[in-house]
């Protein structure tokens, strides 16, 4: 008798779960921790303003979000991946292998990357990409020979900077921000200082030289932060000489603790980022699985709601939080309405 009850209840639980697996009624999102604040703002407002349930937004980094996105099609996979960088060819290939062929790319706006230090710390108020590169690069060319780059203080790099020990806290490799940091700061600095050309003269191929430009020294002067910006903030709080990499909106929320540095003479703000004067900015994206539209209720509506002028445009809650609106918003709206997938197909 008891065996019978147990079996029936087990069967009931299984049937129940099978039913629930089909009937997921909320949008499931994962990915970049930089996009997470914006996505959570929209998710809350979307739940408050529509009859759809509030979407679930997980964090974890662009790469892990896109990896989960590409696991396949079905209600046990996520519908949207947030990313602070564009999807890579390699990831599109993995997606295609697993049956995720139709992906709608949505660019939500731009975000600035700023360098900030403790508000009572040393006078780090002006940097150029060359300074950052010379301070943090792993190898540099001196007199035609490639040597380890180990300056101890910022003054060793640039006499205008204070003579304090180099202690940089940069985003870890699973963050999309790291890629932007490497390309827009390190690589740019490498080219500006002529190191890139020197490396190629010293016998490196162009690819190898680029790789060497973006390699960060590993002797402890530069620390990878795999967590969120709050972890970077905590490190800066406990190290007066620390210099951290933050998103503009995070800095704007913590102006009472942090002091921001200019890059190439331009102070970061939504205005200078929108105009392109501030050099270190990057677009933010989310990717929608087209196969889930019509299966998961509210998926397309969420994407449309997100990109509406009132939300993602100037004066909307995202811009108010620190996102730089995309000038090409109308094109993105049309692409979502027509469900235009990447690679030109429909």
């Amino acid at each position: 008798m008891s065996k019978l009850t147990f079996t029936t209840s087990a069967v009931a639980i299984l049937a129940l779960s099978a039913g629930a697996a089909v009937a997921r009624d909320n949008v499931q999102i994962a990915g970049s921790s930089t996009v997470l604040p914006y996505a959570s703002i929209v998710a809350e407002v979307f739940g408050d303003n529509t009859d759809f349930p509030t979407p679930v937004v997980e964090s974890g980094g662009s790469s892990s979000g896109l990896a989960r996105f590409c696991e396949g099609v079905g209600t046990n996979t996520i519908d949207i991946a947030n990313a602070s960088r564009a999807i890579r060819e390699r990831e599109i290939a993995v997606c295609a292998e697993n049956g995720v062929t139709d992906i709608i790319e949505v660019r939500i706006g731009y975000d600035g990357i700023v360098f900030a230090s403790q508000i009572n710390g040393p006078e780090f108020t002006a940097f150029s990409q060359s300074d950052i590169f010379l301070a943090l690069a792993d190898k540099v060319v001196v007199d035609g020979a490639i040597v380890d780059n180990r300056p101890a203080t910022w003054a060793d790099v640039n006499p205008d900077l204070p003579a304090v020990a180099i202690a940089a806290f940069i985003p870890g490799t699973k963050h999309g921000t790291r890629e932007v940091f490497e390309e827009k700061v390190l690589l740019q600095g490498c080219e500006d200082t002529g190191q890139m050309a020197a490396m190629m003269e010293a016998g490196m191929s162009e690819d190898d030289a680029e790789g060497a430009c973006m390699a960060v020294r590993t002797d402890g002067a530069s620390v990878d932060i795999d967590g969120d910006y709050t972890e970077t903030l905590a490190r800066i709080d406990s190290n007066p000489n620390g210099l951290g990499v933050f998103g503009l909106s995070f800095y704007e929320n913590n102006t009472d603790k942090l002091k921001v540095a200019t890059m190439g003479g331009v102070a970061p703000s939504t205005a200078t980022i929108a105009s392109g004067e501030y050099p270190v900015s990057r677009p933010l994206f989310f990717y929608v699985k087209k196969a889930h539209i019509g299966v998961i209720p509210g998926l397309k509506e969420y994407a449309q709601f997100f990109m509406d002028d009132q939300i993602a445009g100037a004066g909307g809650p995202l811009a108010n939080y620190g996102l730089v609106p995309d000038p090409a918003l109308a094109e993105t709206q049309a692409a979502i309405a027509n469900e235009t997938v990447m690679g030109g197909g429909m």
Binding site: A20, E44, D48, N49, V56, I78, N253, N254, D256, Q310
Partner: protein, 440 residues
Amino acid sequence: MTDASQSGAHHRGSLLTVDARTRKRNAAEARFRYYGMAAILTGVAFLVVLAVSIVRSGLPAFTTMAVEVEFTLTAEQYADAEGQLFKTRAYEGYFNAAFEQQLQDRNVQAGFDPEAVNRIIGNTGATLRSFFLENEDLLGQPVTFNLPTSSRIDGYFKGRLLRENVTDSRFLEVSDLDLADELAEAGIIQSKFNWTFITGKDSGVDNPGGAGIGASVIGSFFMMLVVLFLSLPIGVAASIYLEEFAPKNRITDLIEVNISNLAAVPSIVFGILGLAVFIQFAHLPQSAPLVGGLVLTLMTLPTIIISTRASLKSVPPSIRDAALGVGASKMQAVFHHVLPLAMPGILTGTIIGLAQALGETAPLLLIGMVGFVAREYPDGLISGFMDPNSAMPAQIYTWAARSDGAFYEKAWGGIIILLVFLLAMNIIAILLRRRFERRW
């Protein structure tokens, strides 16, 4: 007599002469006592620092600076707001305009502009909309609302934000603080108990005033139900079999070693297992307390099995022998005599296992319960198990990672609530043990 009194003065009434070695041993013992006391004092000091810092950082989360405003929404305004895409912002617009009008009528001294009102009052649209959706009959009538101020104004009154650190930005201008001070003096901005924090759900990063831990308490509750109803029967059955019936051979030895090892496995491993088995293979929903409960069950089982076996072992063999001696079968001896006597120990072990599971975040990371999960309260048992929800420690972790200082304060407040639950569970465990424990 004179001899004795002389020697008495010398020995202080004892014939024992303390030689050098004894003195050394006594000194060593005294030193050891001081080491022990120092160790305890260090532990207590850490505990006090921890408790004080938690309470000090967390208590402000239980109050909120609220604006008390009378507000009338006309039927036309209601229809207009409901016709828009961004409805909550329309409600907010009407409310802020009405508030601004009231400020002008009051002749407030501090100069202000319409934007200042927007900067002082937090996100109110969702509260207003849900109120008027439910009370359409109150349209056109004045209703008094208590609505949260923006996170920076809240922080200013709680001492989180100092006036000298304020620089003009689109979030807050220094002149806003004068207006806020004046409103506080007039009693319009008041400190209120923050019920939203106790009963509410998570909110977007720009709306710390609307964030609450209530929904995640429910999530944790449903997970604990799963853990209790799965791990208690499975754990007790496994330990009774292993302890009372199983033959002692290599296979049972292997099982025992593995159970002990499982108890020491890092909890994130169970999360990875849960993702692979329950979500990817069994197609259970993501972010569901059912899956969270299943994962935590796996994590709690070894704890329960070990404590159950220990309490079964502690029942004296004479009880089994006596039962068997009067003709009981082995099963009767176990279920009628041994198990009831071992029950207090089993329950204590179970509650402590549950308390451990309640505080776990790592296994939930991979099954989608950590992140922005702001769902309404479940409307029944099935939706409680199946609908996405967070858990208390996951909610705390999420808040701690947000850039706004108001969320950091809420994370500490959440820790206080979590500690209250843990403390309650541990007290129940102690009471059960006191009440029912038998010593032989």
